[in-house]
């Protein structure tokens, strides 16, 4: 057969390819001629490998399975085994899997043929102003996947944990607070990025960050972020006398 007429990427996987071969050979799925089908299957895989095309592991695994079934069918049967031929047919599991796979392949086609929203049917996209008045537009729906993804994104962007460095850097945090305040003096705002040179050492970023947190805690600085992942901006916050209230705050930032 012409192996080149078949392209592996046209098949979902080995089960799909096998279904195709069984159809093409017009044989019964419940009585697959293993030698014939296995030979054709292997010829296709070989052809692909000769062409240096990547053959996914699943296709190779199925090749091994087919060879195994074929060899088991060559073994002589005892009389007992013939009586229970149905269950002992080495092909039984493969046939079951093929029929099961075909069932869902068919169901996928049927589902796809249903009138689909935004393909065949259209609903309104613009909510009524009467409705949106009540809720902020930034609201998003949440799923468990969203939750994990949110965490993953935070972690991807966040610096490494520094729990053990805090004490070591205590002094320089205090120094850095003074420096930040000096930089901020007389300015309307300051980008967090501007607080250190490009390629600043990791410890320097951390110290600056801690200084910033301290300043927030002391209410000397407010932090704003443009958008979700926009850059962070520092704003000189309230009058100095407000800072005296800090001790009465029940919450602490935990960096003292």
């Amino acid at each position: 057969m012409d192996a080149f007429a078949i392209r592996l990427e046209n098949f979902e996987g080995p089960l799909d390819l096998l279904l195709h071969l069984i159809k093409k050979n017009e044989v019964e799925i419940t009585d697959i001629p293993m030698a014939q089908i296995t030979a054709q299957y292997l010829a296709i895989i070989d052809a692909m490998q000769t062409l240096n095309l990547d053959v996914a592991g699943e296709f190779l695994l199925m090749a091994a399975t087919l060879l195994h079934i074929k060899s088991r069918m060559l073994l002589p049967k005892t009389i007992d085994e013939e009586e229970t031929e149905e269950e002992d047919d080495p092909r039984a599991e493969l046939v079951r899997r093929l029929l099961e796979y075909q069932k869902y392949k068919e169901a996928a086609v049927e589902i796809d043929q249903r009138p689909q929203l935004e393909r065949d049917l259209f609903a309104r996209t613009r909510p009524e102003p009467e409705l949106s008045e009540e809720s902020e537009s930034e609201f998003v729906a949440v799923s468990l996947f969203d939750l994990v993804q949110a965490l993953a994104e935070v972690l991807r962007q966040s610096p490494e944990p520094v729990a053990h460095e805090v004490d070591v850097e205590r002094l320089s945090v205090t120094e850095r607070i003074t420096q930040v305040l000096e930089r901020l003096h007389g300015q309307e705002s300051l980008a967090f990025k501007e607080l250190f040179p490009p390629l600043a050492a990791r410890s320097e970023v951390i110290v600056t960050f801690l200084a910033m947190l301290e300043l927030v805690k002391m209410r000397l600085v407010r932090l704003m972020q443009n958008q979700r992942f926009g850059s962070i901006w520092l704003f000189p916050a309230v009058a100095a006398e407000d800072a005296s209230e800090i001790d009465s705050q029940e919450e602490s930032l935990g960096y003292c």
Partner: protein
């Protein structure tokens, strides 16, 4: 308030909503008994089916939503609407397996398809057609997946029992192709001509009972 007064109010609420609206929600907002609201809704649905209009009232995901008729899909696409989900064959197959067999693990999907399905499941999660239902109480505690409300909305299904019946085969079927190009204008509208059985307004999705 009689049915003639209720119908336009129900219609306004469904029109303004940003998704399918359940009967219970309509009853709650309108502040009347279920019965008159259900009657108004059923009449509205009948009106839409009988009149020649650009859109119709579809029962979907346990609620009601106005949607354009499928015969106008081409015009609407020309109009610039239409951001169809590009579902590939692997995605559709995995989605079908998850829809019919939920709650299902990734390993089960992969066994049935015979191929690694991690990235396909991730795509389905991102498109919010599939969600994590929790973990299976077996060694290794694998995650289990099920379909979402968005899945029902996308394919215009009232609930999971409205999925096409899975056929059991003992033989091979002729080759089928996916209807991803163009639309099937022949396909009937999903409007049920008979009066709606409102007592059957579906509850939650099937997996809730299974968990």
């Amino acid at each position: 308030m009689d049915t003639a007064d209720l119908k336009p109010l129900v219609e306004a609420l469904i029109f303004a909503a940003d998704g399918p609206v359940r009967l219970e929600r309509l009853v709650e907002v309108i502040g009347l008994e279920t019965e008159p609201v259900a009657v108004a809704l059923a009449e509205l649905e009948r009106d839409y089916a009988a009149q020649r209009r650009g859109f119709f009232l579809q029962q979907v995901a346990g609620g009601y939503q106005l949607r354009t008729r499928p015969e106008y899909a081409d015009d609407l696409r020309r109009f610039g609407r239409g951001r169809p989900f590009k579902l590939t064959r692997p995605a559709l197959e995995s989605l079908a397996i998850i829809a019919y067999r939920q709650p299902v693990t990734r390993a089960e999907v992969e066994y049935l398809r015979g191929v690694d399905s991690g990235s396909v499941i991730k795509t389905l999660l991102e498109k919010q057609l599939v969600r994590i239902l929790g973990k299976k109480d077996v060694p290794g505690k694998p995650m289990i997946y099920g379909t979402t409300r968005q899945f029902l909305e996308l394919f215009g299904l009232t609930d999971l029992s409205a999925l096409p019946t899975l056929r059991e085969f003992n033989e091979l079927l002729p080759e089928q192709t996916l209807a991803t190009e163009g639309i099937d204008v022949e396909s009937p509208l999903l409007v049920e001509e008979d009066a709606v059985d409102l007592s059957a307004v579906p509850g939650e999705e099937r997996h809730d009972e299974q968990s």
